[in-house]
């Protein structure tokens, strides 16, 4: 336990990186999820096809495979495109960026399904009523769809967020100094990997418990005025 205390700063820094990474990739996944849900619900066959291919691809490929592919391959591809078109010079993708991009991309697919289901749960009459009042599309979105979509999407969103938080542990494989990476380094140097890995598990449990409480609070807030059976 003394060793944990000695390395508390390193563990704390790692926890912050993990939280940053989780929040940034969650924001990216929400954005991609909204676009994906919009595409799946649109009338265009092409957009439906692209969104369908996206969700199928993500369901088929493990996250670590995509992450390593993006980290090692994405950089080369971006630089090859840059070289061929002359639009940009040598770009270096940091491990952190690759981590956020991959996790955001993966969970964007799950968010697509979440948001699609939530939008479909909103009675069509309400959207029609919005149109009848002469609301613009973005007004219908912000005033009618969004507030209800959040409520319908919350249970599945909570689920996705908890899985996402746990998935961030994988970025340690590509060398991001997140919680797992830092704890592994510290544990190895003092030959107490069990103690340090156990500490990591406890920190993850605390993060899950906090997010659970936070999302419950949000659920209460967005369900205000809804009668519950």
């Amino acid at each position: 336990m003394d060793a944990i205390y000695d390395y508390r700063q390193l563990l704390f820094d790692g926890t912050i990186v993990t939280i940053e990474l989780a929040i940034l990739s969650a924001l990216l996944s929400i954005l991609l999820g909204l676009i994906g849900a919009g595409a799946k619900l649109s009338k265009s066959r092409l957009l439906q096809g692209i969104a369908g291919a996206y969700t199928t691809l993500i369901r088929g490929v493990p996250d670590l495979v995509l992450m390593l592919l993006l980290f090692f391959g994405g950089q080369i591809m971006i630089n090859n495109i840059g070289e061929a078109t002359g639009l940009w010079d040598y770009v270096e993708i940091s491990a952190f960026t690759a981590g956020v991009a991959t996790i955001g991309f993966i969970f964007g697919a799950y968010m697509t399904e979440t948001f699609r289901g939530a939008i479909l749960a909103i009675p069509a009459g309400q959207i029609e009523a919005g149109k009848a009042y002469g609301m613009l599309n973005w007004q219908i979105f912000t005033r009618v769809i969004w507030p209800q979509m959040v409520r319908y999407a919350l249970p599945s969103f909570t689920n996705n967020w908890l899985v996402l938080l746990k998935s961030t542990a994988l970025v340690s494989v590509i060398g991001v100094s997140d919680l797992v990476y830092n704890a592994f380094g510290a544990g190895r140097s003092v030959r107490q990997l069990f103690t340090f890995m156990f500490a990591v598990l406890v920190i993850y449990l605390i993060l899950t418990a906090i997010s659970d409480a936070g999302l419950r609070w949000m659920d209460r807030k967005y369900s205000a005025g809804v009668r519950q059976a």
Partner: protein
């Protein structure tokens, strides 16, 4: 890079593969046997852990569902712990962590099992999947229609017979669609084996990329192989569902063409 071949077509393929194709497919073809062995490791780890974890989860789910006075609490703690933490760290804890204790290093289990990456991965994956399976099986048991339970009681079944013949079969059926997600999740999770030196599909992909200093070939091959496995599993579960849940399908179409769609899999969002 690929091995020399004797036929002109082979030479031409190697030339194209090395110089013009975006991916050196001949290199992948030359190492394809390694990938197949990798697939064996992946499938072994995935299905053995699902099998053992599934068997372990049945008594635990019953203890949770019927609120067993002694076991309900410990099982809840176990599932909460394993569901709330990353599989990667659980695997590291077992594989890298256990050696910290001298008692473990000197026990008879150390040599054959606990210092072995394959066994550590299997144990970690089993404990992980057992925790998830316990919880959704519990959900399925709790939602057993009360009429079924009443009918069993009215027929004079003992509690044990009722669980064995009524509650569990009915719960398995309801849990089946969600279970296909668990299987796919476990397959996805099994790539973690490659981080503790095992040569599963991903391990071979990483080996190939490291050996020939490549960025794409190994990972893209791994990606395609995982996709094939996932589609095969999804397909298999659809067949299993039509078999097991056939009596629950809505009879909307003609008898000649059974409505398969009613038992469609849940979307990707149901994935944990």
């Amino acid at each position: 890079m690929a091995a020399e071949s004797e036929t002109p077509i082979g030479d031409w393929l190697v030339l194209v593969s090395e110089n013009y194709s975006p991916l050196d497919f001949m290199l992948v073809a030359d190492n394809f046997d390694r990938f197949l062995w990798g697939a064996v490791v992946t499938l072994e780890l995935t299905f053995l852990s699902l099998l053992i974890g599934g068997v372990l989860s049945i008594p635990m789910a019953l203890a949770r569902a019927y609120r067993h006075p002694i076991w309900n609490g410990p099982v809840w703690c176990y599932t909460y712990f394993f569901r709330g933490t990353p599989l990667l760290v659980q695997t590291y804890l077992l594989y890298f962590g256990l050696g910290q204790f001298e008692a473990v290093r000197e026990s008879f289990l150390w040599g054959p099992i606990l210092s072995n990456a394959w066994w550590c991965a299997l144990i970690a994956f089993t404990l992980n999947t057992a925790a998830y399976t316990t919880e959704f099986l519990r959900g399925a048991i709790v939602t057993t229609p009360f009429g079924e339970v009443e009918a069993a009681k009215a027929s004079g079944m003992s509690p044990a017979t009722m669980v064995r013949r009524i509650v569990l079969p009915s719960a398995f059926r309801r849990a089946l669609p969600a279970y296909s997600n668990e299987v796919i999740f476990m397959l996805h999770g099994s790539v973690i084996a490659s981080t503790i030196t095992l040569q599963d599909i991903m391990g071979v992909g990483r080996w190939l990329n490291g050996r020939y200093y490549l960025a794409f070939e190994g990972f893209v091959t791994a990606m395609i192989m995982y996709m094939i496995l996932v589609f095969a599993i999804t397909r298999g579960f659809k067949l299993w569902e039509t078999h097991w849940l056939g009596h629950l399908r809505a009879r909307t179409e003609t008898l000649a063409k059974p409505a398969v769609k009613a038992a469609a899999l849940p979307g990707a969002s149901d994935f944990r």
